[in-house]
């Protein structure tokens, strides 16, 4: 299986503090992966590097069949290549309607001229209606996103990610602040999504990770401490030492 994303030998430091230290990581084209680790292990910085927000000091981030190096590209170029990211806190455009938010995310030409000339086709409208159904916001398409509840915003953001139709999905703590039922729904949605694309989930909640039932990568002090099934990882002495405790 050839990897969709390959991170090799990446290091980055802030003011002398090594946030990521010689990190190597790979994920296949249709794979679900959970990333866990204590605070400060470098989980968010890892995502920042993949999405282009942070430039690594050393190392390569290679993408897709064409083996492009992502470290030289801008955030928007990386996003256009098919990497979507969901932030810890829901970030939607509160001043705009739900439909506008989804329309923004819809996979289309992102150039200014194309956007200026853009008129939504019937198919686009239908796609947005479908997405709204899927995330339970069908009745709220014309409402401003700022009026939605916290949970609804989370869903809207997931809907926007789906509208982007990325090949790799980076999800930061999706279950935070959700009820058990919502967590179950979210887990199902991620598992479903991983059938056709790569999904990386950063999560603290071990129950949620267990529910995903996928390979787990444990980060510690900026590099991979252990990798494998949830059971193997949770029985690893070093993981218990630094993360799980006792």
């Amino acid at each position: 299986m050839s990897a969709l994303l390959e991170v090799s030998g990446v290091s980055v430091s802030f003011d002398g503090f090594r946030a990521i230290d010689n990190l190597t990581f790979a994920i296949g084209a249709a794979e679900l992966r959970a990333v866990i680790g204590p605070n400060g292990a470098g989980k968010t910085t890892f995502m920042d590097i993949v999405t282009g927000k942070t430039r690594p000091d050393r190392g390569r981030v290679v993408w897709g069949e064409t083996s492009r190096d992502l470290t030289a590209l801008s955030e928007s170029r990386i996003a256009q290549l098919g990497i979507g990211r969901k932030f810890q806190r829901p970030t939607v455009f509160e001043d705009q309607s739900v439909a506008d938010n989804l329309m923004l995310a819809l996979k289309k030409d992102r150039g200014p001229l194309a956007v200026l000339a853009f008129r939504p086709s019937a198919a686009d409208r239908a796609r947005i209606a479908d997405l709204a159904d899927e995330i339970g916001l069908a009745g709220a398409l014309d409402r401003k996103a700022g009026e939605l509840s916290h949970g609804q915003k989370q869903w809207l953001e997931i809907g926007m990610l789906l509208a982007q139709d990325p090949r790799l999905l980076l999800v930061d703590e999706p279950a935070a602040g959700m009820t058990p039922a919502e967590r179950a729904h979210t887990a199902d949605l991620l598992i479903e999504a991983a059938r056709t694309r790569a999904v990386v989930v950063v999560e603290h909640d071990m129950e949620f990770v267990r529910r995903l039932g996928c390979r787990v990568t444990v980060l510690h002090e900026g590099s991979v401490l252990a990798e494998g099934s949830i059971d193997r990882v949770t029985s690893d002495a070093r993981v218990i030492e630094v993360y799980l405790g006792r």
Binding site: F14, D15, F17
Partner: protein, 656 residues
């Protein structure tokens, strides 16, 4: 009756007096003989012809010469009518003179002035006499007189002074005066000594000296004149070859030189050619060219050439002829100020001095830059604090500077003693602007946190209101803020490097504030809390730090320092309602270049901005406006390299 008697009596008295004087005065005294010899010239007192007379007196070696010269200079020399003897005379009243013998100085009694002619040297001649007197003064027993003589020589040196100076130097007892006289003697040797070798030795002895007097002495020696000839004459002493079109010899000047040397016909100026054409208009044509066609320079040249061919106007050399003539001649410079070998020695020494001057000028520039940087630092530090801690740009910061300066002005109106008023003004300015800052924070900025752009605009509203308010209260004219007397003047290192005490004081003030600020930030609870709020406001709040209080105090502190900066700026610039606006952009630049959230960044930023501005001003000295333009362009480009400034917070703190 009286009208008739008066002149008669006077005549009688005058006759008597003349007889009496002649009897008592020694007509054969050497000084009198000398004066008589030049009598006509002295009496005429024309600047052009008086030189020999003065020289004869000065160089006579007579004991009475000095007294005679001094009497002459102070218009106390009189001559008996019709080419009689010279005497020194004091006016007793309008009509009566008290006479003294010029030889020996013995009193000769009083006489009416009708029989005497006063010798009235004009100021030019008095200057010449004074110069001649210098040699006597140089050996005067009074040190003060000798010093005056040295002053006179420095002001207006002459070849004749050299010998006198050497004589005086041999007997000079005062070490300070001996030093001055020694230097002066060497300078005069450089300029006036007869023997070129001696001059060269003196010139080379001065190598590396930065004195303005030396440069003034050497520069004339290197003077040159431009020469032109068909070929370089054999044995010509060439200071430098010139090519027409060079920076130092334009083509027009080169041709002018040829004309002056009779090597080329004079060009006819365009205006003259045009007039000539107009003068020769006949039947709607000139020189066979129709008038209507003359809207073209080429056609006009043709018409003029036709006229010239007919001999009706002087021929004008064409461009091509001019170029050919220039090419056919050589141009060079020859030394006119001194014999070539002396001039070359002077040039060599001047070159050496120039190199040393450059170093010293750089040092002077650095001092200037440091003082400018201190001002920017003082002006920007408050801005940097409020921006760093609160993310708030205070557009009214410049007006706080202005407020501080006006506070200083008001204090100075109330307390006339400049030193005391300055001592009072600094805390007063701090207090006033601190309160203004706190008021602004409480009333406006507090409600706009998290909306930095709107804060910027709201504080701008405050800024224009304050500026106009100051205009309404203090008027539009500039108000002076006078520095105490002990801040006048400058610390002079040498003739090049000098720095005014006010600038030193501002530098010290900036240093004090840097130290104070660092102490507050690192050693006090307040500083700890401020740093905490800067780095992570939410965390700080959850640790029990009241961010409201910290923000208020920080803002007050930043504004207070702006007030003090205002006093400092007011001391060397005028206080106007617009002075804040003049400094605000530089302050912003300082913060942008330095980076936010670090006092060292502000310091670096101020040094860079101040230094750069000075350097640009030196490169383009005529234009301070251009300096600011280029400085801003630099900052815009600088942002490309370091978007977060010189000292940037990195990592999570910066990402937030």
């Amino acid at each position: 009756m009286l009208r008739l008697i008066g002149p008669l009596c006077a005549l009688a008295l005058a006759l008597a007096a003349t007889v009496q004087t002649a009897a008592a005065q020694d007509a054969d005294a050497p000084i009198q003989r000398l004066l008589q010899e030049h009598g006509a010239a002295i009496e005429k007192s024309a600047r052009r012809s008086i030189g020999p007379a003065i020289d004869a007196l000065a160089e006579s070696g007579l004991a009475d010469a000095r007294a005679a010269l001094e009497a002459w200079r102070s218009k106390e020399m009189w001559r008996a009518a019709d080419g009689g003897l010279f005497v020194r005379a004091e006016e007793v009243d309008r009509d009566t003179l008290r006479l003294f013998d010029l030889a020996g100085g013995a009193a000769l009694g009083e006489a009416p002035d009708d029989g005497f002619v006063q010798i009235k040297p004009n100021s030019g001649i008095r200057g010449m006499i004074a110069a001649a007197l210098v040699r006597f003064q140089l050996t005067d027993p009074e040190a003060a007189v000798r010093a005056t003589a040295l002053d006179a020589i420095e002001r207006d040196p002459e070849a004749a002074h050299l010998t006198a100076l050497r004589t005086a130097l041999a007997v000079e007892s005062d070490p300070a005066l001996a030093m001055r006289a020694g230097r002066l003697e060497r300078l005069l040797t450089v300029r006036f000594a007869a023997d070129p070798a001696e001059r060269i030795a003196a010139i080379e002895g001065f190598a590396g000296d930065l004195g303005v007097d030396l440069r003034a002495a050497l520069t004339p020696l290197t003077a040159t004149a431009q020469e032109a000839a068909a070929a370089l004459p054999a044995g010509a002493d060439v200071a430098r070859r010139l090519t027409p079109g060079d920076r130092d010899l334009s083509a027009a000047d080169a041709y002018g030189l040829l004309v002056a040397r009779g090597l080329a016909p004079a060009p006819v100026p365009a205006e003259a050619r045009r007039t000539a054409l107009i003068d020769h208009i006949a039947d709607g044509a000139v020189g066979g060219v129709r008038l209507a066609a003359l809207s073209d320079q080429g056609a006009r040249d043709l018409a003029y050439a036709a006229l010239a061919a007919e001999g009706r106007v002087p021929p004008a050399p064409t461009e091509a002829e001019i170029a050919a003539r220039l090419a056919a001649h050589v141009f060079w410079e020859r030394f006119t100020g001194a014999p070539p070998e002396v001039a070359r020695a002077a040039l060599a020494v001047l070159d050496g001095i120039e190199a040393k001057l450059a170093v010293n000028r750089a040092a002077d520039l650095a001092l200037d830059a440091v003082s400018l940087a201190s001002i920017y630092f003082l002006a920007a530090i408050g801005l940097a604090i409020t921006f760093g801690v609160m993310g708030v740009i205070n557009m009214a910061h410049g007006e706080f500077i202005m407020m501080g300066a006006y506070t200083g002005f008001v204090v100075q109106q109330a307390v006339p003693d400049y030193t005391l008023s300055l001592v009072l003004a600094i805390p007063a300015a701090f207090a006033v602007t601190f309160l203004a800052g706190v008021a602004l924070e409480r009333l406006v900025i507090r409600w706009l946190y998290r909306r930095p752009l709107e804060t910027l605009l709201a504080t701008f509203g405050v800024s224009i209101a304050l500026q106009q308010l100051a205009k309404n209260i203090f008027g539009t004219q500039a108000r002076p803020l006078t520095a105490p007397g002990w801040l006048d003047g400058a610390l002079v290192v040498n003739d090049v490097v000098a720095i005014s005490y006010i600038r030193i004081a501002i530098f010290v003030l900036a240093a004090v504030f840097l130290a104070l600020f660092l102490a507050v930030m690192t050693r006090t609870r307040l500083g700890l809390e401020v740093r905490a709020v800067t780095q992570n406001p939410r965390m700080a709040a959850s640790m029990g730090i009241d961010p409201d209080r910290i923000n208020m105090l920080t803002f007050g502190l930043g504004s207070g320092i702006a007030g003090i900066a205002g006093v400092a700026i007011g001391l060397y610039a005028k206080v106007t309602s617009e002075m804040g606006a003049d400094y605000i952009v530089q302050s912003f630049m300082t913060v942008v270049v330095g980076g936010v959230g670090s006092i060292w960044g502000t310091l670096l930023g101020a040094s860079l901005v101040g230094g750069l501005q000075k350097v640009i001003e030196v490169l383009n000295p005529s234009n301070t406006l251009a300096a600011q333009t280029y400085m801003i362009l630099f900052v815009i480009l600088f942002i490309q390299v370091r978007p977060r400034g010189l000292i940037a917070l990195k990592g999570r703190a910066a990402e937030a």
